[in-house]
Amino acid sequence: MSQTVPVRLVVNGEAHELEVEPRLLLVHALRDRLGLTGTHVGCDTSNCGACTVHLDGQAVKSCTVLTVQADGSEVTTIEGLGSPEKLHPVQEAFWEHHGLQCGYCTPGMIMAGADLLKRTPDPSEEEVRRALEGNLCRCTGYHNIVKAILDAAKSGDTGQVEEPEPSQEGREAAQEFASEGLGA
C-alpha cells in the first residue's frame, strides 16, 4: 500500500498538490494532510453525515469519496464556508437558534443545510427534514436545526448562498486542472 499517486485539489480557494495512497479517503486528506479538522468522522458507513463537504458545489460525504476521485476538483469545507468574522447565513442561523449543542455533527449539518438552500431557496419544513435525513445529531432532537435552516432561508440570501470565491491562484490552478482532465 505504499504506492502513491499525485492529486491536485482546490480547497477553500487554495490549490494543493498531494501524494496520496489511492485508498486515502477525502476526509482523511482534508483532516490529516491539510489540517482542516472542522470536517468530522462520526461513522464508517456513510450514515451520519458529519463529514459533509461541498465537492464542485455539491454536498458529498467525504468519508465516501476517495481523494483520487476528487482530483482536479474544488472542495469547500466548513472552514471555507464562512469565517468567525463573516458568518455564512446558515452558520449565523445555527448560532441564533441554538442549532447545536456538542457541535460535532454541526459542520456537516451546516454544509448540508447550505447545499439545500442553494438548490431549494425556500424549502418547507418537510423538505428541510428530508434533506437532513443523511445527517445524524444526538443532541438537539433536530428541532432547532430545522428552525435555523428555515430562518436562514428567510434571511434574504435565499438562493444566493455562494461557495467562497477561490483565490486568483486557486482559480488558475482549477482551470489548469480542468484543462488537463482528471487523473494523473
Binding site: 482523511h28 447545536l100 456538542c102
Partner: protein, 790 residues
C-alpha cells in the same frame, strides 16, 4: 435577538446566544482527534470475533512485519504495565457484588464479541488497521449465554466460571416484604405486567478518542470523556503514578449521553504505550467499535405489580428488576437499575413500594449509564402500568394520576423508598400540558385509514448527584463524594475566569455559568470566561453526568462568586469609608446603599484589590475565591409530556406527529438552552421507543453493529416540538435549579408507548414491548385479531 443586552438588568432568565458556538460553527472546534502531536503513533485494537472463548496461541509475526508497525502487544505482554484492573466504583455496605477482573486487554478468556485481545501500534491509522487484521488468534470456544433470564436457569453456561453463578448481585429497597403483601391485601384491583426495556447505545456522534503523551515522568492525556478527574485518579492507580504527574484534558467533547461516563481500557492502553515507547499514542474509535465496545444502556426485564382501591387510590407497588450487566461490571454497571429504584414511586403518594434488583452476567457488551440511567426504565414501567391500571379500573388515565399525585403542599415529601422529594407541583405541569392538548379534537382529526393514539407520561427524576453523605461509602456505597468545586478569579482589568469541576460536552454550561456570574458582578457575560475539562487547571472536580452540572456545579460557582463579592464589599467599603454591610450592587457599581453614584465597578474594585495599596491592612491582595459545595439533598425535576402517534394498521408503522412537553427544572437560567436539552432528550426517548435496539443473535454476535442497522432517529423521523415550563424552585440550592439534561429521555419512551397502546386498544391490544417497530406492531394487531402471527 442577539442577546447582547439584558433588558431588565438581569442576565439570568435571558435567552442569550451561546458563547460556545462561534468556533463550533466555523470548524474551529478542538476535539481529541483534531489534536496531533509531533512523533505521534497510532493504536489499533484486535478484538474477539466470538462471544466466549479461551484464548489459545496468538501469532503476532505477520503483524509485526507489516509496514509502519512499531509493535504488537497482548494482554500477557502488558500484564506488568497495570497495577489494577478497570474500576467498578459501587461497593454497597452489606451486599456482595461479584466483580470479575476486567483488564484493558483480555487475559485467558474473552467474554463478549469485541473484547480486546491484542493491539498494534504504528505509523498511521491505515497501517495499524491493516496490521491488526494480520494478528492470528486461536479461540477455544466456550458455551455462550445471551438471554439474561436463561442465564439464571440451572445449568446455564457460566460467563465467569470462577464466580460459580451468572448472578452479579441482589439489592432491594423500600417496604419490607410482609408489609408489602399486607398492603396488596388492601387492593381491590391488582395489575401485573412484564416489561422489557431493551438494550440501546449511547451513540454520541463523536466516537471515543484518546491521545496520550508521556514526557520524562509526566503524562498528559487528551480523551473524549465526561470524567477527566475520575480518569486521572484511576490512571494514577493503574499506572502506579501519582495524580500530580498526570494531566487529563477533555477538549471539545462531541456528546456523551453516559457513554463517556466511563473508564475505558483504551485510555489505559494508550498511556501505557506512550510510557513504554516514549512517543505520543493516539487511538480513535470507529463507529463499529463504538457499537461493539462502548458500554450500552437499559436492558432490563421488569415485573411490575400495582394494587389499587376501586376509586383509583394506589396502595402498593412492587417492581422486580432483572438487569443485564453484560460480561463485566464497569464503573457503575450494577448501580444503574438502582438509580431507577429511587424514583419508583414516580409522582405518586404510594404507602408501600418495594424494588428488588437482580444483576445478571451475559456474554454481551457491558451496560452502564446512558442518558437517564435507570430512571427512564423506572418511569417507563410506572407510567405504562398506570395506563393499564386505569383501563382495568375503567378510569380516565389522567384522573388516576391526579388522584395519586403527591400534593404540592406535602413537599418536601418522603416517599416509601426513603428519599425526600425536594419540591413539586405535579398538578401544575399537567394542567399546563392540557391547555395545549385537546385529546378529543386531536383524535377527531385523524387521517383516513390511520389509527391515532394519544399518550401521556408524568415523571419525576432524581438529579443533582449527589449528597456525599447519602451516596458515599457508608451510605449507598459509591467510593467517592459527589460534591463540586469552583474557582472564580477576577482579573486586574475586571475580566473573570471561572474554573468549574464540571466537564460539559454540549450542555451550554459556559453560557449558563457566565449568566449567573455576570448578574452577581454587574458585568456582561461577555466578560466571563469558563474553563473546564482540564485537571491541570482549577481545583479537583467531579465532572458532568446525572444532570448535576448546574444544580451542583452551578451552586459551587454561586458560592465562590459570593465569596468574591464579600471581599469586593470590604474593598469598596474601605475606599469609601463605609461599612461593608451597607455596600450593595446597583447596576454595574458596588456602592453605598442609597448613593449609587459613589461606588466602584468590578474592574475598579479588582484594580484596588491587586494594586493593594488601599485595601484594609489585614486583607490579602488579589481577587479570587474557591468553593466546594456538597448538596444536602438531591433535586427532583418533574414534568408532564403528551405524545400523539399515527398508526397505520395495514403496515404497523408508527409516526410521532405531535409531542408536547411541560417540564419543571426550577427557575430558568437560559430558557433556550433548557428547550434544547428537552428536544434532544425527547428524541433519545423516541428512539428508544420506536427505532433503536442493540440486538445480539443467539451466538452473541452483535447484529446492529453500525448506523446502517442501528436506527438512530433522523430529522425525517421526528416532528418539531412544543415545549413549556413551570418553575417550582428547589429549596436545596440558592438558584432553586434542578437540571434538565435527562428529563426528555426519562418521559418520552413512556409517552410514546402509551400513545401506541392507546391506538392499539382500538384493535384489541393492551400491551406491547418496545421498540415499537412496524413488524412488532403489525404482529400484535394480527395476534389480537386471532391471526397466526404472534
Amino acid at each position: 435577538m442577539s442577546g447582547d443586552g439584558a433588558p431588565d438588568g438581569k442576565w439570568v432568565g435571558q435567552r442569550i446566544r451561546r458563547r460556545e458556538d462561534p468556533p463550533l460553527i466555523t470548524g474551529r472546534g478542538r476535539y481529541t482527534d483534531d489534536i496531533t502531536l509531533p512523533g505521534q503513533l497510532w493504536m489499533s485494537i484486535v478484538r474477539s470475533p466470538v462471544a466466549h472463548a479461551r484464548i489459545g496461541s496468538i501469532d503476532k509475526s505477520a503483524a509485526e512485519a507489516a509496514p509502519g508497525v512499531h509493535g504488537v502487544f497482548t494482554g500477557e505482554d502488558l500484564a506488568g504495565d497495570f497495577e489494577s484492573p478497570l474500576p467498578m466504583a459501587w461497593v454497597p455496605p452489606g451486599i456482595e457484588i461479584k466483580t470479575p477482573e476486567h483488564w484493558p486487554l483480555a487475559r485467558g478468556t474473552v467474554n463478549h464479541v469485541g473484547d480486546p485481545v491484542a493491539l498494534v501500534v504504528g505509523e498511521d491509522r491505515y497501517a495499524v488497521a491493516d496490521a491488526a487484521e494480520l494478528v492470528g488468534v486461536d479461540y477455544d470456544e466456550l458455551p455462550v449465554v445471551v438471554d439474561m433470564e436463561a442465564a439464571l436457569e440451572d445449568g446455564a453456561p457460566l460467563v465467569h466460571e470462577s464466580l460459580g453463578t451468572n448472578k452479579s448481585h441482589e439489592w432491594s429497597l423500600g417496604t419490607e416484604p410482609d408489609d408489602l403483601e399486607a398492603a396488596f391485601q388492601q387492593a381491590d384491583v391488582v395489575v401485573e405486567q412484564r416489561i422489557v426495556n431493551h438494550r440501546s447505545a449511547p451513540a454520541p456522534i463523536e466516537p471515543r478518542a484518546v491521545l496520550a503523551d508521556y514526557r520524562a515522568g509526566d503524562l498528559t492525556i487528551y480523551s473524549a470523556t465526561q470524567i477527566p478527574h475520575f480518569l486521572r485518579l484511576f490512571l494514577a492507580l493503574a499506572l502506579g503514578m501519582t495524580e500530580d504527574k498526570i494531566r487529563v484534558i477533555a477538549p471539545d467533547v462531541g456528546g456523551g449521553f453516559g457513554g463517556k461516563l466511563q473508564i475505558y481500557g483504551e485510555e489505559y492502553l494508550a498511556c501505557a504505550l506512550a510510557r513504554r515507547l516514549n512517543r505520543p499514542v493516539k487511538w480513535v474509535e470507529t463507529r463499529s467499535e463504538h457499537m461493539q465496545v462502548t458500554h450500552h444502556g437499559r436492558d432490563q426485564v421488569d415485573y411490575m405489580r400495582v394494587g389499587a382501591k376501586r376509586d383509583g387510590t394506589i396502595v402498593a407497588l412492587h417492581s422486580r428488576i432483572f438487569g443485564d450487566m453484560g460480561a463485566y461490571l464497569m464503573l457503575l454497571t450494577p448501580l444503574i437499575p438502582e438509580l431507577g429504584a429511587f424514583v419508583m414511586s414516580g409522582c405518586y403518594k404510594i404507602p408501600a413500594v418495594r424494588v428488588d434488583v437482580t444483576g445478571v452476567f451475559t456474554n454481551k457488551t457491558p451496560t452502564d449509564a446512558v442518558r437517564g440511567a435507570g430512571r427512564p426504565e423506572a418511569t417507563h414501567m410506572i407510567e405504562v402500568t398506570l395506563d393499564k391500571l386505569a383501563h382495568e379500573l375503567g378510569m380516565d388515565r389522567l384522573e388516576l394520576r391526579r388522584r395519586n399525585f403527591i400534593p404540592k403542599e406535602d413537599f418536601p415529601a418522603e416517599v416509601a423508598v426513603g428519599v425526600i422529594y425536594d419540591s413539586g407541583d405535579y398538578h401544575g405541569t399537567l394542567d399546563k400540558l392540557l391547555t395545549k392538548v385537546d385529546e378529543q379534537a386531536i383524535k377527531a382529526e385523524a387521517p383516513e385509514g390511520i389509527v391515532r393514539g394519544v399518550g401521556y407520561a408524568t415523571y419525576t427524576e432524581i438529579c443533582g448527584l449527589a449528597p456525599s453523605r447519602i451516596v458515599g461509602p457508608s451510605g449507598l456505597g459509591l467510593q467517592a463524594g459527589l460534591w463540586e468545586s469552583a474557582l472564580v478569579r477576577v482579573h486586574i482589568t475586571g475580566g473573570v475566569t471561572v474554573y468549574t469541576g464540571t466537564s460539559p460536552h454540549g450542555q451550554g454550561i459556559d453560557t449558563t455559568f457566565a449568566q449567573i456570574v455576570a448578574d452577581r458582578f454587574g458585568i456582561s457575560p461577555e466578560l466571563v470566561e469558563v474553563v473546564h475539562g482540564d485537571t491541570g487547571t482549577g481545583p479537583q472536580g467531579l465532572n458532568t453526568y446525572g444532570s448535576r452540572s448546574l444544580a451542583v456545579g452551578g451552586e459551587a460557582v454561586v458560592r465562590a462568586t459570593d465569596k468574591v463579592v464579600a471581599k469586593i464589599k470590604n474593598v469598596v467599603a474601605n475606599a469609601l469609608e463605609a461599612s461593608p454591610d451597607d455596600i450593595e450592587l446597583t447596576g454595574d457599581k458596588f456602592a453605598v446603599r442609597g448613593s449609587p453614584d459613589k461606588g466602584m465597578t468590578l474592574a475598579e474594585a479588582a484594580g484596588a484589590a491587586y494594586i493593594a495599596e488601599s485595601i484594609p491592612e489585614d486583607m490579602e491582595p488579589g481577587l479570587e475565591e474557591t468553593a466546594f459545595y456538597d448538596p444536602q439533598n438531591f433535586v427532583f425535576p418533574f414534568g408532564a409530556h403528551a405524545c400523539v402517534v399515527d398508526l397505520d394498521p395495514e403496515t404497523g408503522k408508527v409516526s410521532v406527529v405531535r409531542y408536547v412537553a411541560v417540564d419543571d427544572c426550577g427557575p430558568a437560567i437560559n430558557p433556550m438552552i433548557i428547550d434544547g436539552q428537552v428536544h434532544g432528550g425527547v428524541v433519545h426517548g423516541i428512539g428508544q421507543a420506536l427505532y433503536e435496539r442493540i440486538h445480539f443473535d443467539e451466538h452473541g454476535n452483535l447484529v446492529t453493529g453500525t448506523f446502517v442497522d442501528y436506527a438512530l432517529p433522523s430529522a425525517a423521523e421526528v416532528p418539531s416540538f412544543e415545549t413549556d415550563r413551570t418553575e417550582t424552585p428547589s429549596p436545596v440550592n440558592a438558584l432553586g435549579v434542578k437540571g434538565v439534561g435527562e428529563a426528555g429521555t426519562i418521559a418520552a419512551s413512556a409517552a410514546v408507548t402509551n400513545a401506541v397502546i392507546d391506538a392499539l386498544r382500538q384493535v384489541g391490544v393492551d400491551y406491547i414491548d418496545m421498540p415499537l417497530s412496524p413488524v412488532r406492531v403489525w404482529e400484535a394487531i394480527q395476534a389480537a385479531k386471532g391471526g397466526v402471527a404472534a
